[in-house]
Symmetry: C2
């Protein structure tokens, strides 16, 4: 499958690398290709410069948001929730039309330090804003509730015995998202319902962040025991 | 231990009943004793009139918020988060001073139907507001992340293999809360940190509510797999 991953941070790299490893034809999208290639320092989140990752993933071309989305059958939004609408606008509404759009963003505003505040009120979500701005895209919120490495290698923790969520209005797009998650190794994938249920998935972040602080690791996951 | 449970809804009844069963000297507090005793109908949440519960728990006196708190060594806030400050004000700041105050409330505003909105913004929490309003009370947020019956009988689900959280500024009050939770049967009790971490525990409610809808049951629980 031809998949565009928008965003070159830890989440975008994890998704793009894993999807390529599974045999998909993957591109990774950025706002400014030259600027991304010019990174030389470790970023504020501890990520190596993009070129370090790119050298290990030569099968994944770095393209503009628009060029990446234009050639894709499926688009993955792995940008920060505070800039996702701008990134997808740059990708171009025509390049998203009719396509499954997996939204992995979180609406975290770190501008005032830690803990971040939510950049979207509890009566809305980034996923809903994306769906409203791009009504013909088939938005599915998923995977935002865990750290990047567990998104794509879930079996490294408790042999995958933990939960992932889906929220979206299109059953076909959710089925495709479920298939991709299963190909990563996820075994407990809960369909929460329509795109408004993404509010719940996004609002779990404050607890996630405090649990990370309490546990001293990001390698943990929520499981819905039932 | 002498424990006052404030609130006569499902959560207050569950806590008061279980604490009495475990041998504590428990009272249950309400705003208006006569009005609570005059209930004759099943309420909007499906709870039987209070007197039905009271007849099965004759060892638990029904008192005003103030009378219940005055005689207690530990106070449990089992009122709705939208009225907790009013209930605790009625209980009386002198009756809370220096005492562990377990806050089990959730800031859910159902005035516009389902799903409820959060009555407190993400930069605050009911627990913090209570701590700010009653600075000498030893507030511990706990148990609000699960349905009432699992708060007090956790082993009825997966033999208790799921998580509870503590948030609070006072180590002694958190140790007491942990002891009470363990006496209920909880085995995985995670201390998230100071009272500001209650934001995370309160903001999990939107996901909890949507998971309940997706699963068709309230008998489920979050587990932090690590």
């Amino acid at each position: 499958m031809r998949i565009a991953v928008l965003g070159t941070g830890a989440v975008g790299r994890a998704l793009a690398g894993r999807l390529a490893e599974l045999g998909h034809e993957v591109s990774i999208g950025t706002r400014d290709v030259a600027a991304t290639l010019a990174q030389t320092a470790v970023d504020g989140m501890g990520n190596q410069p993009f070129t370090v990752w790119a050298q290990a993933h030569t099968q994944v071309p770095l393209l503009t948001f628009a060029d990446a989305a234009a050639g894709a059958e499926v688009v993955v939004n792995a940008t920060s929730g505070t800039v996702s609408l701008a990134a997808l606008t740059a990708a171009g509404s025509d390049n998203l039309a009719g396509k499954p759009l997996l939204d992995i963003s979180n609406p975290l505003d770190f501008s005032k330090g830690f803990p971040p505040s939510m950049s979207v009120p509890d009566t809305d979500s980034v996923a809903e804003r994306i769906q409203a701005a791009f009504p013909t895209a088939l938005v599915v919120k998923t995977l935002n509730t865990m750290t990047a490495t567990l998104m794509v290698y879930p079996r490294q923790l408790a042999d995958g015995d933990h939960s992932a969520f889906l929220s979206g209005n299109d059953a076909g797009a959710k089925a495709l998202a479920r298939e991709l998650l299963e190909s990563f190794g996820h075994t407990d994938i809960i369909d929460l319902g329509d795109i408004t249920t993404a509010r719940g998935a996004e609002m779990i972040m404050p607890l996630w962040l405090r649990a990370m602080g309490a546990l001293g690791t990001s390698i943990f996951q929520f499981k819905i025991v039932r």
